[in-house]
Symmetry: C2
Subunit: 328 residues, 2 copies
């Protein structure tokens, strides 16, 4: 199963000489270009500035560690901390980096660079296996003729689910809300699905309930940036409105969770990133209103477990109430 | 109470020589410019192309009739039909024009032009009174400290409610979703509220439920383009998602209905305008995705009466179930 261009590892992050190149998701699909970062400070800034998003920062962090694999341990620890702090809501990157640093601390300094590279190879392989497993679970939830609503860019597990369903002969259509302000839906999800041959229609963020009311949506599916042990999920702002709509119209809501966060007992501990409100007063550099007005940009929704039908993990498809038991 | 610039009659439509000038809401607040129409065909096209919207077309239609007041009756009837067909969902314009034409048919041809102008004076005065009455009712529903979520551009009755509440010493804040694709929220509602001194924050269309979940919203208020006799309302797409959210979080939803449609027994008869899907693939002329992708643009939501708390009319504040009785 070939992933669309945006999700290919080499297009998320790659090393070139002493620099790290990050695929610039802010410009895709209009340009396939990369931001060049010369040090970890620049990489952390790029993550803050949304050069990549969703699962992108994790891949960037792993590739960054490869770039600095032979640096002193203190420098690696400092870098891991800098990267972790760049995006507070999605904790997979932080938890992966913490686990790596712990392993490095137990390893003698001689050969530490090679050890780190081998470790990252293993981690990447494991995530690839996880994505494939989630793709199989996700595909099993879909039937021929389904029309799926999504939000933002649900990446590997979601897109692999659709590719697998398609390979199994199921015809699926996906309605993709554009996902303001950065348009991840219209710029990343829609072209990526189109690229792999899935039928796709772009809508605005306001239209999810509209198409549910008309009976056009049979399934709501999103990734999530974090899932707590009580089944509370956080995902791109707008996910909650559609989750409430799906519950109202009795449409299943499936959440793809690569790595439920065992450090979070409940949703109360989820940290929701609040970005600069001025970011929503423009689209691709064009003003949407007077610059003197105040905007607000909470980037993530917290979604009550009772609004979620299925949580697809690499282990299995769970009900939200089962996640804690399975992962604790 | 002074209305904001966009809602002043002269800025919606004005006669200049043989032409009608329509205030171009697509360019506001970046420009205060007018589209010049030399005949009724051009006026109907301008309405189709969203030069003005919401209650704007009604004011344009009335001013158009003034422009052609001395034309033969057949020409006036043809014009009324052309204008009515330009925007199918909001039926106030059509019903007003039908009533005018019926009156004109009973009037002798001599002095018909003066009669028509006097008739329009009366109609405009009556609508102004209706707006003021609705502003008083709307204000009565608000209390000091309220934070109101709205959708699109709810115009006179909503803005007069806020101005009146403010005059009564109530501090109200309004959260305004930008309202894609034409950004009526960020371009019209937010600057207009700011102009009259109401505190305003611009959000994206995806964020209504988010702020409800955080307990920040105390009231959801919108205009509606049409209300049927069973209390079903139609309003800008996105209104339904927020109405469902408001019901879920037990927040009142108030609908401003200038003119419930007695010809519609139920919501089943409401005609929802479906616009060209390519309109959502851009913002102010800038592409949001690849032009080869398919977009969809249903402009209006149909809202079940059980999701509506109050329907503010010029007569009174009704529960949705009371509207039929009051207007039939």
């Amino acid at each position: 199963m070939k992933l669309p261009w945006v999700l290919q590892k080499n297009n998320i992050a790659r090393i070139k000489g002493d620099s790290l190149l990050i695929g610039d998701r802010r410009l895709y699909p209009f340009e396939r270009s990369f931001v060049t970062c010369k040090n970890v400070e620049e990489i952390a800034s790029a993550l803050k500035e949304m050069v990549t998003q969703g699962g992108g920062p994790l891949q960037v962090a792993l590739t960054t560690l490869r770039l600095i694999a032979n640096s002193p341990l203190a420098e690696i620890k400092r870098s891991a901390e800098l990267l972790s702090n760049s995006r507070p809501t999605n904790t997979t990157m932080r938890r992966t980096l913490v686990a790596i640093v712990e392993k490095l601390e137990r390893h003698p300094s001689k050969g530490r660079g090679d050890y780190l590279n081998a470790l990252i190879d293993k981690i990447e392989e494991a995530y690839d296996q996880d994505y494939l497993a989630m793709g199989s679970f996700g595909s099993a939830l879909l039937k021929d003729g389904d029309v799926v609503l999504t939000t933002c860019f649900a990446e590997h597990s979601f897109i692999l689910s659709l590719i697998k369903a398609q390979e199994e002969g199921k015809r699926i259509k996906v309605l993709v809300p554009e996902t303001r302000p950065y348009l991840q839906g219209s710029r990343l999800t829609a072209p990526s699905l189109d690229e792999v041959g899935i039928e796709v229609e772009v809508i605005t963020d306001a239209m999810g309930a509209h198409f549910m009311e008309r009976g056009e949506i049979t399934h709501y599916m999103t990734a999530c940036d974090v899932v707590a042990m009580d089944g509370t999920a956080a995902n791109k702002v707008g996910s909650l409105a559609n989750a409430i709509g799906a519950a109202y119209y009795q449409i299943p809501y499936t959440n793809f969770a690569l790595s439920p966060d065992t450090t979070l007992a409940s949703g109360a501990g989820i940290l929701l990133e609040e970005r600069d409100g001025s970011e929503i007063l423009e689209v691709r550099g064009i003003a949407t209103t007077l610059p003197t007005l105040k905007g607000r940009y909470p980037s993530f929704d917290k979604i009550d477990p009772k609004l979620i039908t299925n949580i697809v993990t690499p282990k299995e498809i769970f009900a939200p109430s089962e996640v804690g038991e399975a992962y604790r």
